[in-house]
């Protein structure tokens, strides 16, 4: 592999990490509270509210049902509005984040629902407020589920970021596509795939480790 190729690979790797970390971070930042709201307002939730639950739930489902490649293209105007350009890694991050938020929200909602209802009762009987029950009981008890969800989200984002090439976002997937598929450079394709596999493995390993550390069941 030439020096030039190595440089391209390194560059693509950094782009992938940049996209996954930023969109993953933003996805969690918005997805966690959204998931919590879905959980709280859902059926027999502490703050059950049909209107809010249906409204948010439908939006979340709608976004999740759009194929990601289409979401990227559909969100080009939004990317231009937010990051000032419709191409490049930063533009791809806009669609990756929008795609990740509802994904995270449903993961979080499911994890929170796994917490036994008896714990909520115990919290209420102690005189805790709904916020205290959420922060001091439900989230700590659901933490390993939430971490598993975050792990799956990051891994999914690694995959999705490959499609970012469609808007010139670069990254490993894009590199593999351009060199491996269009120029039949088998070496670079294999190396890219190896790097992707190692990245996914590392994320999975770190997630499993963290989930196990924080869980005592």
């Amino acid at each position: 592999m030439s020096q030039e190729m190595l440089y391209a690979l390194l560059n693509a790797w950094v782009e992938t990490i940049y996209m996954v970390v930023v969109s993953g971070g933003l996805g969690l930042l918005f997805g966690l509270p959204l998931g919590a709201i879905l959980y709280l307002t859902g059926k027999s939730g502490i703050l059950e509210n049909v209107v809010i639950y249906r409204g948010l739930g439908t939006t979340v489902n709608a976004v999740r049902s759009i194929p990601f490649i289409i979401l990227i293209i559909a969100l080009i105007p939004l990317a231009r509005l937010i990051v000032g350009t419709s191409i490049g890694s930063s533009a791809a991050i806009v669609s990756l984040t929008i795609g990740a938020i509802p994904f995270v929200a449903r993961m979080v909602e499911n994890s929170l629902q796994e917490v036994p209802k008896g714990l909520i009762e115990a919290g209420l009987a102690m005189g805790a407020t709904p916020l205290q029950i959420m922060l001091q009981i439900i989230i700590p008890e659901a933490i390993s589920g939430i971490i598993n969800g975050a792990t799956i989200t990051l891994i999914t984002l690694v995959g999705y970021s490959a499609m970012a090439g469609a808007v010139g976002g670069g990254g490993l997937g894009d590199l593999a596509m351009r060199y491996g598929y269009q120029r039949f450079d088998v070496t670079i394709m294999l190396v890219t795939i190896a790097v992707l596999i190692i990245m996914v493995q590392l994320i999975q390993w770190a997630g499993d480790f963290l989930a196990a550390r924080l869980s005592h069941t």
Partner: protein
């Protein structure tokens, strides 16, 4: 301390309405252990959950320490709940927090500084015998230990009442006994009022001062425990109460006993006595002083919180006047005698 006035609660589902509580009134005195027993589905959990308003009654009042809980704002209700501890059948501990943090939770919810929390919790850990377990997580404990953690947690806010929803139902008999003894100790040492619900009569026998029997959302009987087991009752009991008293009429009587008196019948008495009366030579007295023939069909003595309660079912034979004198004598000794019925003379003598 706690008064419930005419509460009703029903659950409406698509197809039908279940009346879980049907006009219940109850008053629990300070310092007593009040037991509510009933079959599954009779409404016990709904009732105890109405006391801290985990369940809101459709109507009626719940008065706790002179305040009407149903008229309190959310914030005031939360304060009132901090004065009531609650423990559950399945413990409801936080799996991801160690024992110390589990017990500390209600105090952290009250936003108490960590220094003060420690001062409150350490004695509770001693009381519940968990010194070796402070750093453990619930998954590492036995059922009895988990319930002790739950008790310590419930006591952390120094409540004036402890609500127990089937607190021993998931435990084996030996562990049940140790938990009941702990509850009794807490009741005595801290003068803590305890309301407990159960479907096991042994729990009531062990520690409850008073008992209410529930059936179909109603309280069908409410009585002092010793009186309950001594059959001191003004009205006939229904079959549910009878089943809790474990006083089925001996089988050999069932077929021959009638409520009709005739010239050739003998009465069947149920004699219930308690405390010192257990040591009275009742049968000898009846035989010697009243010339009554006594045929003992069934006899048992039970110890309820250290007090002996005896029940005897006997067939008696003698002249009417003597029988009446014998009956009066027994009743003068504060012994309850109930005439269950009559059997043809010699019908149940062993062949």
């Amino acid at each position: 301390m706690i008064e419930i006035h005419n509460i009703k609660k029903s659950y409406v589902s698509r197809s039908k309405t279940v009346i879980a509580l049907d006009n219940i009134s109850l008053s629990v005195k300070e310092g007593e252990i009040f037991g509510i027993i009933g079959r599954s589905g009779s409404g016990k959990s709904t009732l105890i959950r109405c006391i801290n308003l985990l369940e809101k009654p459709d109507q009626g009042q719940v008065i706790f320490n002179h305040s009407n809980l149903m008229s309190l704002s959310d914030a005031h209700l939360r304060q009132a709940r901090q004065q009531m501890g609650m423990i559950f059948q399945h413990f409801n501990l936080l799996a991801n927090k160690n024992i110390y943090d589990n017990i500390a939770l209600p105090l952290r919810i009250k936003k108490m500084p960590e220094k003060e929390i420690e001062k409150i919790i350490m004695p509770l850990i001693q009381l519940t015998d968990l010194e070796q377990r402070v750093e453990n997580y619930p998954a590492q404990l036995s059922g009895g230990q988990k319930q002790r953690v739950a008790i310590a947690r419930a006591l952390a806010t120094k409540p004036s009442v402890l609500l127990c929803d089937e607190a021993t139902s998931a435990l084996d008999p030996e562990t049940t006994l140790s938990i009941l003894q702990l509850l009794q100790k807490i009741n005595r040492d801290m003068n803590l009022t305890i309301i407990l619900i159960t479907h096991e009569m042994d729990v009531i026998k062990q520690i409850c001062h008073r008992i209410a029997v529930m059936e179909h959302g109603k309280i069908i009987k409410e009585q002092d425990t010793i009186e309950f087991f001594s059959h001191v009752s003004s009205e006939a009991d229904n079959e549910v109460v009878e089943s809790y008293l474990q006083q089925e009429i001996p089988e050999l009587l069932g077929s021959v006993m009638t409520q009709q008196v005739a010239t050739d019948t003998d009465p069947i008495w149920r004699i219930c006595f308690q405390g010192d009366a257990v040591s009275l030579p009742l049968v000898t007295t009846l035989v010697n002083n009243f010339q009554i023939e006594v045929n003992i069909l069934q006899a048992q003595i039970d110890y309820i919180q250290g007090i002996a309660v005896g029940i005897m079912i006997v067939e008696v034979a003698g002249h009417d006047a003597q029988l009446k004198e014998g009956l009066d004598y027994l009743r003068q000794q504060q012994i309850t005698v109930e005439v269950l019925g009559y059997v043809p003379r010699n019908a149940i003598r062993p062949a």
